[in-house]
Amino acid sequence: GSSGDSGSEGGVDQVKVGVIPIIDVAPIYLGQSKGFFKNRNIELTLEAGQGGAAIVPGVSNNQFQFGFSNLTSLMIAQSKDIPIKAIAAGVASTGEAGKDFGAVVVKGDSAIKTAKDLTGKKISVNTLKNIGDTVTRESVRKAGGDPASLNFVEMGFPAMPAALAEGQVDAAWVVEPQLSAIKAAGGREVASTYVDAAPNLTVAAYFTSQKLLADDPDLVKRFTEAIHESLTYADAHPDEVRAILGTYTKIDEKLRAAVVLPKWPTQINEASVQTIADLGAKDGIFTKAPDLEKLLP
């Protein structure tokens, strides 16, 4: 498309960003409405994609100039030598057990009380061999259970409340808003997986292609600044975040008020990423260890 060329036209760059329309990307929507991108001569179009599988090819092929994806997906892509580069943190864990935006939950009347009890149980994750099973395993490992015995099944987050209620899975690894919905219906949190995995874990990141970085470093720089500003602003104004959620998601007002918001630091916590990379390698998610040097800014 014509938007593929990021050359300036009258000083304004047309930029497409592939995002997943969930809570995690609220800052970029907020930043867009606040004019943080316009200020830097960036005309932003946000394209909704479903997960890294659709966004990573789009970015590496310059259909999108930037994208949002969880770090495990980015590391997998990197380990396959796909030339991408993370430029800013996307979303991070709150670091407080029991008050994070992702967790393993069970039904209220379940016999599972702690992460240790998950041993041998059937747990749903949104994507197999990705960050969900890595961090859940770590929670179980830390609690003294057998991480190898976990029985993961894959299903979309939206399907999890029903699957859990109908007893089709013993536990579910979910994020907001499903997490709040399940808790509101009597569900119980048994592990704050992001918290267990690493302190202040960076879960996702914004990224671009190596090619764009080489061709138009100025654009990347401006975009990174704008993102940083957005992240900082969002972190400081949770009420505005809850309000902007109403524009690009269909989360109803009650739920919007109830959900736990994540942290939005600007810097990627490299230590936490390294931890995730090591854990992932242990669980066999990577065929080749990812080169974090090359991936991270």
Partner: protein
Amino acid sequence: MTTARRGNPAGDTVLLGVAGLAGLLLIIELMPRLGLVDERFLPPASRIMAALAEEAASGAFWTALSDTLVAWALGLAIAVAAGVLAGLVIGSVPALRALTASTVEFLRPIPSVALIPLAVLLYGTDLGSTLLLVCYAAFWQVLVQVLYGVADVDPVAFETARSFRFSAWARIRHVLWPTALPYVFTGVRLAASVALVLAITAELVIGSPGLGKEIAVAQASEAVPTMYALIVVTGVLGVLINLLARTGERRLLAWHQSVRGEVSA
């Protein structure tokens, strides 16, 4: 037994059809009310309808609807044109048929969803990638139906045309085409809904704008009644599309046993 027919048959049909849909609504209303399913996961029809009304009041919904319809109509038109053309040509040249059979069978079951990376690669999240998936899926439906239709031509009719030295084109136009037409209609009806399914799936998975994306957003937002409302909209679209196809069929296939049988038997 041919009983004398009472009343206006077309009106009759519509009435019965509406009764069928009303029955469905009733079932959906009653299932959660009677506690057969948890109404958190399948809300009663009345709540779905309320959510639908809410959606219909928003401009975004209508934009999404028209996005989906454009992708559907364009994709279907391309697929039908290509499918009919290829079907008639391949079907009427036996050598071509033998030559392409294996390739057709190889390509047909490759799921459109497996082509998503390819589509994204080529078109990003533009209309193009939805179109690619829609065309790919709908094309085979039409092609296969046309191939069967062409094979169904009555040899005596075909020989009549041959003996009067109809040109190849005239044989296709006046004999093969009318014979294949009932099959084509079934093919178009199949393709129309497959195209709709694929348009929405593509939007759902790739995230290009349209009803599918709205459904994905609703799902991700835990907005269950809204999600069902949007699903209902796709279903209603299907019903309307079929109504259109049926009307066309009654006009164009008045001579065919399946249509004239409705009247006389």
